[in-house]
């Protein structure tokens, strides 16, 4: 498969006869990255799959009105993040769960997840991450696992770089404290 740049993909998409082809290329290019980003937030594979599909449905519906002054890649991440956070808040509302119980439920999913292949320390790290506030989890995951630049994160989360740096710093401190004590 030819590796098109995002600009080239968008240009192909503007051609009405090739829009399905362009969309398919976008899906193939970003499926894995978006999946892992979502999976670390919702933990369960089935939930991640649902959220990823919904993300691409939104992408398909919104790609026509996408303005090229933003990057396609950050736009996709923004949709995926919003979909994942919306999914979690719907789950809370659906089962009338307080935040602590959502964390507990996600931790239990982690314990029983047949597709989790990490060691004990990695599991402990994931549990520590689950104790962070949702937005801080997103910041930590993007920076620590995906090594994303703060500027790109600022575009995705529509926050200042300074606020993101502070958020990441606090997240690291909390995680280290949790691992020390557990």
């Amino acid at each position: 498969m030819t590796d098109y740049t995002d600009k080239e993909l968008l240009s192909i998409f503007r051609d009405s006869e090739r829009r399905h082809y362009a969309f398919n290329l976008i899906v193939r290019k970003y499926t894995e990255r978006l999946y892992w980003h979502i999976r670390k937030l919702v933990i369960s594979h089935d939930d991640a799959d649902d959220v990823l599909q919904n993300t691409f449905v939104k992408v398909w519906n919104g790609l026509d009105s996408f303005r090229e002054d933003a990057q396609l890649y950050t736009w996709l991440y923004r949709i995926a993040t919003n979909e994942a956070l919306t999914f979690l808040s719907q789950k809370k509302r659906k089962y009338f769960l307080p935040l602590v119980d959502v964390e507990r439920q996600l931790s239990n999913t982690l314990e029983t997840d047949e597709y989790f292949s990490g060691d004990e320390l990695q599991k402990k790290l994931q549990k520590a991450i689950l104790r962070l506030p949702e937005k801080q989890r997103v910041v930590f995951n993007l920076k620590y696992f995906e090594e994303m630049q703060y500027e790109e994160m600022a575009e995705i989360l529509e926050t200042s770089v300074g606020a993101l740096k502070a958020s990441y710093h606090h997240a690291v401190k909390k995680i280290e404290k949790y691992i020390e004590e557990n």
Partner: protein, 152 residues
């Protein structure tokens, strides 16, 4: 006292600890296409219902307008229908009476009353007609006419 681990974040394996079912990523785009076509179908159905609903609304609106127009036409036709001769006379009388002053109206009523009074000549003619019959009846019954006159 809580047990403490002196483990730093950098010491933890950074590799992705999550896994996916076999061929998940290979099959994802096919499943996504199915979902997109289902979503399109739902959208189309929703559009059809909305279209039907709007069409029903338009039909209802047109029917209401037609009904109002029909009632209007019937009403106007009824008002413009030519009067029967009897109705015309009644209407003429009514309008003629309305045009009269109080004095004229009083005079007309007086005339009506006079017209309705019995003519003395016709009364005497009627009396003459029945006079013979009365006398015959009285003689047959042997009744003296003077007796009747005295008893009154």
């Amino acid at each position: 006292m809580a047990r403490k681990n002196n483990i730093k974040l950098e010491e933890i394996n950074k590799a992705n600890p999550f896994g996916v079912p076999e061929h998940y990523f290979e099959n994802f785009s096919v499943r996504l296409s199915d979902k997109l076509s289902q979503t399109e179908k739902v959208k189309t159905t929703a559009f059809s219902f909305a279209w039907l609903h709007s069409r029903a609304t338009v039909i209802l609106a047109f029917a209401s307008i037609a009904l109002i127009l029909l009632i209007g036409v019937i009403f106007v036709n009824y008002r413009n229908k030519p009067l029967s001769s009897k109705e015309m006379i009644e209407a003429y009388k009514y309008s003629a009476i309305q045009d009269l002053s109080d004095e004229q109206l009083a005079e007309m009523m007086n005339n009506n009353r006079k017209e309705k009074q019995l003519d003395p000549d016709s009364v005497s003619k009627a009396n003459e007609k029945y006079k013979d019959e009365i006398i015959e009846y009285l003689s047959n019954e042997n009744i003296d006419i003077n007796t009747i006159v005295d008893s009154q």
